[in-house]
Amino acid sequence: MAGDDQAVDAVLKVRDLAVDFKTDTGLTHALMGVGFEVPRGKVTAIVGESGSGKSVTANCIMRIIQPPGRIVDGSIDFAPKGMDPFEIVSLTKKDPRLQELRGGLISMVFQEPMTALSPVYKVGNQVAEAILCHRKVSRGQAWREAAEMLERVGIDDIDRRIQMYPFEFSGGMRQRVVIAMALVCHPEVLICDEPTTALDVTIQAEILTLIKDLQRELGNSVIFITHDLGVVAQIADQVVVMYQGRVLEIGTVRQVLKQPVHPYTKGLLAAIPGLAPKGERLATIATVVGDADITTPFPMQTLADGRQVSLPPELGGAQQA
């Protein structure tokens, strides 16, 4: 609703985003009309099963979709602090704002810390490069700032470690390096694409706390991609539920996790071990969803409590125009 739109200070507004992948087997519609907003200074979680289009959405925001993928429709309005707002999808390759965007205004932490860094360059080189890509500073200055940021993400003995190669680091430490690399230019938005999936549980908790703490300190916005609803509860302010290239439900953490409206969201929650009553068989998403139609793209509607949901008409959804 127009009134709500103005009430929320959104750093990113994604609208009707559509992405196709042209492969040997035909055209895949990876995203079909994805829309959501990222409130400034908050953590927005995107949840959904594998293949629902979470990573593709993130890559669109960074404009790093590679062929055979192509953004075929939609817009992403970006309103960084102290800069004129601009639209991301229509930026041409030569536009200096595109380069500024990647790693400068928006940066990204990926799922695979073991392979996210090049094995042949020192950790310091790779973190300092992020600075050198965006600011005119000397190499020495860039390395000093890299060292500061690495210490801030919890890497000690920095004079020695900064000269080491990624393969001399553990997975958790590598992910800290990637986080330092992402934050060293103080971006407006940090996108984390399943940053803890590949790590063991104790390290997972540490990394989550680190991301949350740094977000509070630096005041940036975070898009946190995960399929772990436990993590969502811990870290997020707002949740976007995706399924098969579409958004099914958007709401606050409390709304989505405590009183889900969409049958698919209900199914996701029921399938979490630990939430189901003891001794009972764990429900699958399919049994909870039942006969409800979750594949047809019904229009998004805003409910009285402010959440947005795409419901079939028989469950109270708006009729299609």
């Binding site: 960074m62 790093i64 590679q66 380069q99 500024e100 965007l101 990647r102 790693g103 400068g104 940066s107 990204m108 990926f110 799922q111 695979e112 392979t115 996210a116 860094l117 090049s118 094995p119 042949v120 360059y121 790779q126 490069e129 992020a130 890509c133 965006h134 190669y165 393969f167 001399e168 990637v178 690399m181 992402a182």
Partner: protein, 327 residues
């Protein structure tokens, strides 16, 4: 790193010793020896050869001693820089080999550079523009290059040069410089000639390297570390070179040494076809005539070149790839 280098260098000594034994055995394998082929010649010329003369000759070449002793004479002399005497040319082997070895080395090394100069940009282009017309064109050219043996390529080039341009493309020098002593003009003349054998010897390797580089690069292009660097804001041209290409070329650096034997044997054939003053034609001649000191020395030198080439490429790889260095 230092201990790695030292171990590798120490490892060369037994390798070369074993190679020298094998070479020695191989050149002794055919029936007869230098003296018998010498006698054949002398008798054909009607020269009378007494029993005593034969004995003397045998003693002069140490052929009357057991094989093992003969080997140590040969190997020992080789180490002190005396490669023996070529009966075929009636000159010390030292005089015959050095210059030719120099030309062989020049052609081989320049062929190696040519290989890289062509394969690197073309391989990168082909990978980045996969399945475009340009890529298909390069692929076709590479397959033709791979399927054409160097000696055939040499014949084709010489034919084209002679028929269409009326120039003789054989040799490394124009006739007026053939016997001239070294001068800047002679050097320039050599450069004007050496490019053709360089291209011919390097063509196959360039085609091969380009194809493998393309495949390696396609594997690397979408690796997570490349995506991370792209998301960090590294500019496209720098991104490709600094990240995926840097990794994709590593296997080739270690392969430089392994490419040397192919280049050297390719050069030997091309050298014969084009009449180059290199090792190849001389080696063939010496083997046919059982001129064992000449053949043995040349084989030994080629082996030394290859072994040092492999060492150099391994050290180079350790230098560019920290993962090797830290093992």
């Amino acid at each position: 790193m230092r201990s790695y280098i030292l171990t590798r260098i120490a490892g060369l000594i037994p390798t070369l010793a074993i190679i020298s034994v094998i070479i020695f055995i191989v050149i002794q394998l055919p029936e007869g020896d230098i003296v018998s082929s010498m006698l054949d010649r002398l008798q054909a010329q009607g020269v009378d050869t007494s029993e005593e003369y034969v004995q003397n000759l045998r003693a002069q070449y140490n052929l009357d001693k057991p094989m093992v002793i003969q080997y140590f004479y040969w190997a020992g002399n080789f180490l002190t820089g005396d490669m023996g005497y070529s009966y075929l040319f009636s000159r010390p082997v030292n005089e015959l080999v050095w210059e030719r070895l120099g030309y062989t080395l020049s052609i081989t090394i320049s062929a190696l550079f040519f290989t890289w100069l062509v394969a690197l940009p073309v391989g990168i282009y082909s990978a980045l523009r996969q399945y475009t017309i340009g890529d298909y064109l390069m692929t076709t050219l590479a397959l033709v290059g791979l399927a054409t043996p160097p000696f055939l390529l040499a014949l084709i080039f010489m034919h084209i040069g002679f028929e269409w341009f009326g120039i003789s493309t054989g040799g490394l020098f124009s006739p007026e410089f053939e016997d001239a002593s070294w001068s800047f003009a002679k050097f320039a003349d050599m450069l004007a000639h050496i490019w053709l054998p360089m291209v011919i010897v390097g063509a196959g390797g360039a085609a091969f390297t380009m194809r493998i580089l393309r495949a390696n690069l396609l594997d690397e292009l979408n690796k997570p570390y490349v995506v991370t660097a792209r998301a960090k804001g590294v500019r496209p041209a720098k991104l490709v070179i600094k990240y995926p290409v840097r990794i994709a070329i590593n296997p080739f650096i270690s392969n430089i040494g392994l490419m040397l034997p192919a280049l050297i044997s390719g050069e030997a054939l091309v050298g014969m076809v084009m009449g180059l003053p290199t090792i190849g034609p001389l080696l063939l001649q010496s083997l046919l005539n059982q001129d064992m000191f000449l053949a043995g020395s040349m084989l030994m030198w080629l082996a030394i070149l290859v072994v040092f080439g492999i060492l150099l490429s391994d050290l180079l790889l350790a230098w560019v790839d920290p993962r090797i260095r830290f093992e």
